[in-house]
């Protein structure tokens, strides 16, 4: 069994030796340099430009402004396109925008011979604006008479949706219910992949080639074709190794404009690499959300009814728009099934940087709110925090009535048991009762559930091609992308497993090229090991069948008697070895009687989904006068089904926990409340987790095989970030008795909360 083994990553040596090539390592050294002029106001309209001084800079080739680009709006999010008009993504931005909607909007671009010329020219462009008052909160955006940020949405509400299951109003009439209300808020944060956004583009025989740091090459091709109004066949997108994405690169960022810019300079190669500051402000962020939750619980510790109202602050452009908060309010329903439940969600335009996809897509937001709220319920009603969750959480057989997603497997109960043991929960709960003094300790926990892929909300499809080489090895071509998470490695393991090959006989082509690699929507929604994994399995079975058929022809045997094991053709029952796969491959290629270039290509159209589950347990020490939180112990325990590779799985958990700690304690984008300018658009002022901020990270896996997963596996890439922030908040609550309902728990917020509670006088 190669599936389940902690083999080293297939790309590790290239990355350790420095030979792995990223976008900036591939660009022609004579490429022209493009720089974008970003608006210095948050809300307004560009009236005119004065380009005279800018054009005098030696080396400037061309300046393109918002008055020069096609008058066509296009969508940017990395969703599979819907052929149904009602479900299509919102087209609300142009390549460069005359109507300025946030501080940093793209209004012009300079193309120059080198970076210095481009940068100097940018500074010399004079812009005349008509300026309006920035609208920086969803509350202001929704006020009567508020100015429309997009004329298509006069009240600034991008989308409003609601649902009701059961009869909420009837359910809350039940006698003896305890009502608990809470308001919870999460901040805008940034992905902070170490490689910034960037691409380069050139033309060849009338086609545009874009090489980009993206998670979604096939989707980028479609978006460019929409932005430039040309056929998809005219566009070729290539994705080499990329330096992280975390959802930011699940969106068209520099690519559409870059494709346009090469077209205005006769197809010369133009590179468009964003700086760190631009990556912070002008790509995408995680949505800030605010939740109003109302729960009715029975005295026996079960839910009778719940309702939620959610507001998602979108920023200037729709991007993934309402999909995030819709996912959040759906998640609110799934974790603790209940007979009567209501949800109401708004996504609202503001003059802020555009929010989009980020690791776990709305669930870290609702995860914080719901798990904080559950602790609030337990505190108010006197329930045991762990038992209450166990009594109410999703069980195998649960089917969400709205999405119809079923819980096929669950190891959550065992996850909780192991998490409790790790932090010595029962003893600590006793020990930390009735503390006084400046330094106090506490324990907290949170659980989560997370869907695997996007079915049935959107299309799930993946294709794989495998070509047999003459030495009995295979080239595997996939549209699914490696973005650092280890996809290439687990796909290689899956292919080897199903083919009966050793791992060294599987060559997975890491680079996606839309001219070559078959269609897959890309890296997001923790979908690839599940959905693309199904396509790997299907294709491997098809290739194996063809190899066995040719071996059958060579051996004059029935192919159904044959199997492949460790690169040998063997008898399916006795395991007797007949031929090597190399002998079969050589004969198949060069046979004078029956030459047959063996390859397989299959599409898997996935129509299933399953829940990954898990928990975080944490122990903290709170210094009340210093308003600081120190993590003493922390563990994530995951049920992601069968773990394909324990080494890469640990990497996903560690990285997600680190991101979750940052989300809970440190990170937020700080926006100037008057101008809308982002004040901490760099890695010094944005409090990104350093190695010194990171405690020892505990992790564990419970591995029930999921019957729907291709190898018993479920989502893992995103989930580790989800339960950490609420576990930390709940631990601080346990330590101090102060329930902080907004993250991050930075010193200023803790000072305010501790002062209100009388802990600081």
């Amino acid at each position: 069994m190669i599936v389940g083994k902690a083999v080293n990553r297939v790309d590790a040596e290239a990355k350790a030796s420095g030979t792995a090539k990223y976008v900036a390592d591939l660009v022609d050294r004579n490429a022209l340099v493009a720089k974008v002029l970003h608006s210095t106001i948050a809300n307004g309209t560009v009236l005119s430009f004065d380009l005279d001084e800018a054009y005098k800079v030696p080396g400037v080739v061309k300046i393109v402004t918002c008055f020069d680009v096609p008058d066509k709006q296009f969508p940017t999010p990395g969703h599979p396109w819907s052929t149904h008009k009602a479900h299509q993504d919102i087209s609300d931005r142009k390549l460069l925008n005359t109507r300025v909607r946030f501080y940093g909007d793209d209004i012009a671009a300079v193309i120059a011979e080198d970076e210095i010329a481009a940068t100097r020219a940018l500074k010399l462009i004079k812009v005349e604006y008509e300026e309006y008052e920035p609208i920086l909160t969803y509350e202001d955006a929704m006020k009567d008479g508020a100015m429309a940020i997009h004329e298509e949405k006069p009240n600034n509400v991008v989308v409003h949706s609601d649902y009701e299951m059961g009869n909420f109003d009837e359910a809350i009439k039940e006698e003896g219910l305890i009502k608990v209300e809470g308001t919870y808020e999460t901040p805008i944060v940034s992905h902070c992949h170490i490689e910034n956004a960037g691409s380069y583009a050139y033309m060849e025989s009338g086609r545009i080639i874009v090489v980009s740091s993206t998670q979604i090459p096939h989707i980028i091709r479609r978006v460019i074709s929409q932005a430039l109004d040309c056929g998809m066949g005219k566009i070729r997108v290539i994705k080499p190794y990329i330096g992280g994405g975390f959802g930011n690169k699940q969106d068209a960022l520099t690519e559409p404009l870059n494709a346009f810019l090469t077209s205005v300079v006769g197809g010369r190669c133009v590179k468009l690499f964003y700086t760190r500051e631009e990556t912070f402000v002008c790509t995408r962020t995680r949505h800030a959300m605010k939740f109003f939750i109302e729960s009715y619980v029975r005295k026996d510790g079960t839910f009778a009814a719940r309702k939620i109202k959610a507001y998602s602050t979108q920023g200037a452009y729709a991007s993934h728009a309402h999909a995030l908060v819709a996912n959040a309010v759906n998640g609110f329903r799934m974790m603790y099934p209940v007979g009567a439940i209501k949800g109401d969600a708004y996504t609202v335009y503001t003059n802020l940087p555009t929010a989009g996809a980020m690791r776990a897509y709305g669930i870290p937001q609702i995860g914080f709110a719901l798990e904080a709220h559950v602790d609030d319920i337990c505190q108010k009603a006197g329930f045991d925090k762990v038992q209450f969750r166990r009594d109410n959480m999703m069980q195998v057989g649960f089917v969400d009535p709205f999405t119809t997603i079923a819980c096929h497997s669950s190891g959550l109960d065992e996850c909780i048991t192991r998490g409790k043991e790790y932090v010595n929960w029962d003893q600590k709960i006793e020990e930390y009762k009735n503390q006084t003094g400046d330094i106090r300790r506490g324990v907290g926990m949170a659980v989560f559930c997370y869907k695997t892929g996007v079915y049935p909300i959107a299309l799930e499809t993946s294709a794989v091609r495998m070509v047999l080489n003459q030495d009995g090895s295979t080239q595997v071509q996939m549209g699914a992308t490696e973005i650092g998470q280890g996809a290439d490695t687990v796909f290689s393991q899956m292919a080897a497993e199903t083919l009966g090959f050793t791992l060294d006989k599987v060559n997975l082509i890491s680079t996606q090229d839309t001219d070559v690699t078959p269609y897959d929507t890309g890296a997001y929604a923790s979908r690839q090991t599940y959905v693309s994994g199904m396509a790997v399995k299907k294709t491997a079975l098809s290739l194996k069948k063809k190899i066995c058929e040719f071996a059958g022809y060579m051996l004059n045997r029935d192919p159904s008697d044959l199997d492949i094991e460790d690169n040998n053709i063997v008898h399916v029952g006795t395991r007797e070895k007949y031929l090597t796969t190399e002998e079969v491959a050589m004969e198949a290629c060069y046979s004078l009687e029956n030459s047959n270039h063996i390859s397989a290509e299959e599409t898997h159209h996935c129509s299933d989904n399953t829940y990954a589950l898990g928990c975080c347990f944490a122990e903290v020490e709170v210094d009340i006068p210093m308003c600081s939180v120190k993590i003493l112990k922390i563990i994530n325990v995951h049920d992601s089904g069968k773990i394909i590779n324990p080494q890469t799985a640990r990497g996903q958990v560690h990285g997600g926990m680190s991101m979750g700690i940052g989300y809970g304690l440190y990170e937020r984008l700080i926006i100037d409340p008057k101008t809308g300018k982002t004040n901490n658009d760099n890695l010094l002022d944005y409090k990104l987790m350093t190695v010194l901020d990171t405690p020892d990270l505990g992790y564990d896996f419970v591995e029930p095989e999921d019957p729907s997963g291709p190898y018993g596996n479920k989502a893992l890439g995103e989930p580790p970030v989800i339960p950490v922030a609420p576990a930390l908040r709940n631990a601080v609550y346990n330590a101090t008795g102060v329930a902080v309902n907004a993250i991050p728990l930075h010193p200023q917020r803790l000072f305010e909360e501790f002062s209100k509670a009388g802990l600081i006088k």
Partner: protein, 163 residues
């Protein structure tokens, strides 16, 4: 602007480059020498992805002027492999410990670890963390990176003690 000659030793070889005096060392190493292990994550010395060793000390090459490199001895990640392409123990440790994910911060982290693994001093895990705290990683949560450095440091110390 008139280019200037900079002569320095890069990965054991004396190199002469005419470069723009406004250029950074990372511009020289990437642009002229094609040493692509030097990564740009911020261009202002925050992220550590461009770390190189100059005369035994680690520097962010993006904020080190190329002209300052005159007469200096510079090592990049490419210089850690032997001439036949065999990678070094610290690179292998990053692979074996699962300390690499997207790989973009990896070269900088490995270069920042050199003064630790080449030292005879004791380093606790916390001291290792402090030494490499100028390097950011968003993928790994750092745990396996620290382990790779710790193990290589211990291994090299043991090897030196045998000699």
């Amino acid at each position: 602007m008139k280019k200037q000659l900079v002569t320095c030793t890069i990965n054991g070889k004396v190199r002469e480059n005419y470069i723009d005096p406004r250029a950074s060392l990372s511009d020289l190493l990437r642009g002229e020498e094609h040493l692509h292990s030097i990564k740009h994550g911020c261009d202002v010395g925050e992220c550590g992805a461009c770390t190189v060793v100059i005369d035994g000390e680690t520097y962010n090459s993006c904020i080190y002027m190329a002209i300052w490199a005159e007469g200096k001895n510079i090592t990049t990640l490419e210089g850690l492999s032997t001439l036949d392409g065999t990678i070094s123990d610290i690179q292998q440790a990053f692979i074996d410990e699962g300390a690499i994910q997207c790989g973009f911060c990896t070269p900088g982290f490995i270069m920042s670890s050199l003064p630790i693994i080449e030292s005879d001093e004791e380093f606790t895990r916390d001291e290792i963390k402090k030494q490499v705290s100028g390097n950011f990683c968003r993928c790994t949560g750092y745990d396996t990176i620290v382990t790779a450095i710790e193990k290589t440091h211990n291994k090299r110390k043991a090897e030196r003690a045998k000699k």
